[in-house]
Amino acid sequence: MGLTIRQKADRIGTFRFISVYLMETLARWVPTTPELEAKVLFGRHVWDFAQHADQLGRRTGELRAAAQYSLRPAAGYFKVLEAVASAPGTLERVAGFYDGFLPDLERRYRGYLAETDQLNDEPSVRIIERILFDLPRLKGDRIAFAAQRADLKPLDAGWATRIAALAAAEREFVTDRSPARTSAAV
C-alpha cells in the first residue's frame, strides 16, 4: 500500500529537520571544541548534512509541500537531538553523535525505504540511498579520528550508550502535521 503523499512529505520533511539540526550541532561544536582533529571532523561533515537537507528539501517540493519544507520531529525525539547536542566533552560529542545517534538515524532511513513504494516514491528512495551511502564514510572518519587522538580520555564513558538508548526508546519520530500547511524556513 505504501505511504500517502502527505505521509511521505512529513517523513522527508522530518528527515530534513534532523539533517539541519545535525548540521547546526556540528557547526556549534567547531569553535567550542579545542582539538583541531575534532574541529576538522565536524567541519567536514557540516557539508554532508547540509547536502542531505538540501536533497530532502528539494524532494518535499515535489510532494505537495513547500520546497525545503522542514517538520519538527515528535517531542520525545527532539529531546534526543537536544541530548546529543548537550554532550559535555570532545569524546562525548564524537561518540554520542557517531556511535549513539547516527546508527539509529540510519535505521529510520532504512525503515522509510521498507515502508514506501519503491517505484512510486523512487525519487525519495534514491535520495535516501545516497544518504545511506554517505553514512559509512562519516563513521570511517570518526574511526580515523579515534586513531589520531587515542590520547583523549572520556568524561563520561557511558554517554554514547545512553544516547543510543534514548533514541531507540522513541519509536515515533514524525508528528502529525496540523491542517494548515507551513514551510519552515530552516
Binding site: 547546526e24 557547526a27 569553535p31 583541531l36
Partner: protein, 269 residues
C-alpha cells in the same frame, strides 16, 4: 553587537571577541608583536608559515560555522554556501597540518593569533561578517596566496606550492559567493549596504589601532619595516574571478601602491 559580556576581550584598547577553543599545546597571543615569523624561506620560516596558515584556516572554518549557528533565518542557498565553506576550510586546515608534519613541524610549535575571529564575531549581522571575513580577509588571502605559491615553488617545494594552488581555488569561490550575496541582499534591501560599510569601518578602526608600526619588532626580533607593513601585491586575475568589480580592484591596487601579480599596465586591457 551580539557578543555578551564575558564573550569579549580587550586588546590594545579594542574590544574583540574572545578566542575560540584551542588545545593547551598552543600559545595564543593577541598581537603581531608576539608572533614569531621570518621574512625568508628558511626551514623554520616555512614551518611557521604553514603553522600560521593552518590556524587561520581553522579560524575561517569557525567563523563560517558560527554564521550558520547565529543566522538560522538566512536564505537556504546562502546557508549551503556557508556549510560548504566550513567543509573547505576544514580540509585546508587538515592539509596544512599534514604538510607541517611532513616538514617535521608540530601543533603548538609557534604562537598563534585569532585576529580574524576576534574582529568578525563582533559583527551582529551576516552581510557585515561576509564583508569582513570573505570580502576582506579571504580576498587578502587570495593576494597572499598568489605570491606565496610562487615563493614556495621558487624555493623548490612544489608539493606545498600545489597545495596552495588548490586552497587558492577554493578561496576564490568563498569570496565570490560573498560578493554575489552582498549584491543580492543589497538589491533586496539597500540598508544592507550601511551594515557593510559599518563593518568595514569597524575593521579599519581595529587595524589602525593594532597594526604594527614601523620599527616595531616581533617575538624573534624581526623588525616591521615599511616594506613588511605594505599590503601584498594584488592578485588581479583571481580577484576578477571572485567577481570584484574593476573599480573595487583599482581601489585595492591603490592601497597596495599599484603592485600587482600581473605585469604592470595589464589591468583593464
Amino acid at each position: 553587537m551580539i557578543a555578551a559580556q564575558g564573550e569579549t576581550k580587550v586588546v590594545g584598547g579594542v574590544v574583540l571577541r574572545r578566542d575560540p577553543a584551542r588545545e593547551p599545546c598552543f600559545t595564543v597571543v593577541q598581537t603581531d608583536a608576539e608572533m614569531q615569523d621570518w621574512p625568508d624561506m628558511s626551514p623554520i620560516s616555512r614551518r611557521e608559515r604553514l603553522h600560521r596558515h593552518m590556524n587561520n584556516e581553522s579560524g575561517a572554518m569557525e567563523i563560517a560555522a558560527r554564521c550558520l549557528v547565529d543566522f538560522p533565518d538566512t536564505p537556504w542557498d546562502l546557508r549551503m554556501a556557508l556549510a560548504r565553506q566550513v567543509s573547505d576550510e576544514s580540509r585546508h586546515a587538515n592539509l596544512l597540518l599534514q604538510r607541517l608534519r611532513e616538514l617535521d613541524g608540530f601543533k603548538g610549535e609557534f604562537p598563534i593569533a585569532n585576529f580574524e575571529w576576534g574582529v568578525t564575531l563582533m559583527l551582529e549581522d551576516l552581510p557585515g561578517r561576509l564583508a569582513v571575513q570573505n570580502r576582506t580577509f579571504e580576498a587578502g588571502l587570495i593576494d597572499i596566496l598568489g605570491t606565496l605559491r610562487n615563493r614556495w615553488r621558487e624555493a623548490g617545494d612544489d608539493v606545498t606550492a600545489d597545495m596552495l594552488e588548490g586552497i587558492l581555488a577554493d578561496e576564490i569561490t568563498h569570496v565570490r559567493f560573498a560578493n554575489r550575496w552582498i549584491k543580492r541582499l543589497t538589491e533586496q534591501d539597500p540598508r544592507v549596504l550601511l551594515k557593510v560599510a559599518m563593518a568595514v569601518r569597524f575593521l579599519g578602526r581595529v587595524n589602525q589601532q593594532l597594526a604594527p608600526k614601523p620599527g616595531d619588532v616581533n617575538a624573534v626580533g624581526v623588525e616591521w619595516t615599511e616594506e613588511r607593513r605594505q599590503a601584498p601585491a594584488v592578485n588581479v586575475e583571481d580577484r576578477r574571478e571572485a567577481e570584484f568589480t574593476e573599480e573595487e580592484i583599482t581601489e585595492v591596487l591603490k592601497q597596495a601602491g599599484f603592485r600587482s601579480i600581473l605585469p604592470a599596465g595589464s589591468l583593464g586591457e
